[in-house]
């Protein structure tokens, strides 16, 4: 059990708790009586484990309208992003051919860093700027495509602002030009409906721990036509049809499969509830003088809100709110006091970016918690502003 003082958890964009129903399914794979065997083994316990792994694959495929054979297990979206971007850039072009990748300035580091790695390997990368409302204009992405472009990578929704990109429009344009599209869906999988076929996706990255599954599990969807050009990044036992070697963690995969089943059944209703809670939160925060919404007002994830409180230093505001588990900037970079590169790309100045907080609501958030958060933020913003020159 956790030992910290009670807090209101509003950081579902960073990580979600594992749903108790998922925990129950995972527990069935642990312990001497559980389905713990190596799914590559041919004995009965191994075959039983393999059956659960494949059942989970079916559940994931159904959630995303993919073929089960097009779902590959990974350790999470970071690995999936690396595999799609590095694996495709290294494996799909003829030796010595010019190579170019299009991505955006507001991607997660798990996309930007592989792209930087590719630049060191001689690949040209174009970083498309977002619009002031945080959305990526599909026309700008398409305009960046060149004859030697071998991949476009655009996130479905931004992890800091929650703003949703029109990956369907980008997917249609890419498909028409024969350029594969990779989508980092870490923030949207299980939260928004995703149909990889309707959206014309070639690769899609998913993390279990953002959708009430366990940490350390994820998947990469690969369009069957793209599989031959995708080079693995790790080698060993040849698991996952040679794309991702390593013994499959049955309990993690079963957890991700269970999370997909729950999302399939409940995501629509949950999105409506979270949208109402998010609006309640914004209505409350708007009463704080000068509060600014970062990003598009409606084209955003149901539970995510990013708000600036000009005149207040962000680190102090976060420190003043020990009863709230929230983020300034993205969780992955909040150890630094550098302003968020995403908010800066949206045109926010350094002080406004630094004064911003991300609130992300989820399955276990209540209206009472939202109201308590508004009260606490209003009180502390007023206190810190009163202490400022």
């Amino acid at each position: 059990m956790s030992t910290h003082a009670p807090v209101i958890y509003l950081d579902y964009a960073a990580s979600t708790p594992v749903d108790p129903r998922v925990v129950e399914r995972m527990l069935g794979c642990l312990g001497p009586d559980g389905v713990f065997a190596n799914p590559s083994s041919t004995h009965a316990p191994g075959r039983e484990a393999r059956a659960l792994v494949e059942q989970a694959r079916q559940s994931a495929a159904r959630l995303f309208n993919a073929g089960a054979g097009d779902v590959y297990w990974t350790s999470g979206a970071t690995e999936s992003n690396n595999l799609a971007i590095l694996g495709w850039a290294r494996g799909s072009a003829a030796p010595g051919a010019a190579r170019h990748v299009v991505t955006t300035r507001i991607e997660h580091k798990a996309v930007l860093d592989p792209c930087k790695r590719l630049e060191k390997e001689g690949v040209a990368v174009t970083y498309v700027e977002p619009e002031p409302d945080g959305r990526v204009d599909p026309a700008r992405v398409v305009a960046a495509i060149r004859p030697d472009t071998l991949l476009v990578s655009v996130m479905h929704a931004n992890n800091e602002t929650g703003v949703i990109n029109d990956v369907g429009a980008i997917g249609a344009s890419c498909r028409a030009r024969g350029v594969p599209l990779h989508v980092d869906a870490a923030q949207t999988a299980g939260r928004l409906p995703i149909d990889v076929q309707r959206l014309n996706l070639d690769f899609m990255s998913v993390s279990a721990h953002k959708m009430y599954g366990p940490k350390g599990a994820g998947l990469l969807y690969v369009h069957p036509a793209r599989r031959p050009g995708l080079l693995p990044l790790q080698f060993g036992g040849g698991q996952e049809r040679g794309l991702r070697s390593g013994t499959l963690p049955v309990h993690q995969i079963v957890g991700l499969g269970a999370a997909c089943e729950i999302a399939f059944a409940e995501a629509a209703g949950e999105a409506a509830r979270l949208t109402a809670l998010r609006e309640r939160l914004w209505q409350g925060l708007q009463s704080i003088e000068g509060a600014l919404l970062n990003g598009h007002p409606t084209e955003r994830l149901p539970g995510t809100l990013n708000v600036a409180f000009p005149g207040v230093e962000g680190e102090s505001l976060l420190f003043a709110l020990p009863g709230l588990a929230i983020s300034s900037g993205s969780a992955c970079s909040s150890d630094s006091d550098e302003p968020s590169y995403v908010l800066r790309a949206l045109g926010r100045d350094v002080q406004t970016a630094q004064s911003s907080l991300r609130f992300s609501l989820g399955r276990f958030t209540s209206a009472a918690e939202v109201d308590a958060a508004v009260t606490a933020v209003a009180r502390e913003v007023a206190r810190l502003r009163a202490a400022a020159p």
Partner: protein, 119 residues
């Protein structure tokens, strides 16, 4: 962050402005919001002594905690040594990491500016 930083940050009792009254008010300011740290000290002085001190600060929790701690130390101190120690000493007392010393130097600059105004 340390318990000392938490305690002082949570109770910014000396934050604010001095109201006009007995004695002379001197002000010292340093830093800017653009640089991430801005500090203003006000002292009410009479003769050779500080009677009362207030501050306003924009910055990280360490900055605010240091200003609060210093403002509580200042009343009764003399022109010869208007504040206790140096930024390294304040960092030790409040358990502030050395990589944040730059913020404390801004606080010291504001104190120095107040002392110069008193001269």
């Amino acid at each position: 962050m340390s318990a000392a930083v938490r305690e002082h940050f949570d109770a910014l009792r000396a934050a604010g402005r001095l109201a006009p009254g007995a004695g002379r008010i001197v002000t010292g300011e340093a830093g800017s919001r653009e640089e991430g740290t801005q500090v203003r000290f006000q002292w009410r002085v009479a003769g050779d002594r500080i009677l009362e001190a207030r501050y306003l600060a924009y910055g990280c929790p360490y900055t605010l905690a240091a200003c609060e701690w210093l403002a509580r130390q200042l009343p009764g101190r003399t022109r010869a040594a208007p504040w206790p120690g140096a930024p390294e000493d304040w960092a030790r007392v409040l358990d502030i990491p050395l990589e944040r010393l730059g913020r404390l130097l801004v606080v010291e600059d504001a104190l120095r500016a107040a002392a110069a105004a008193w001269a």
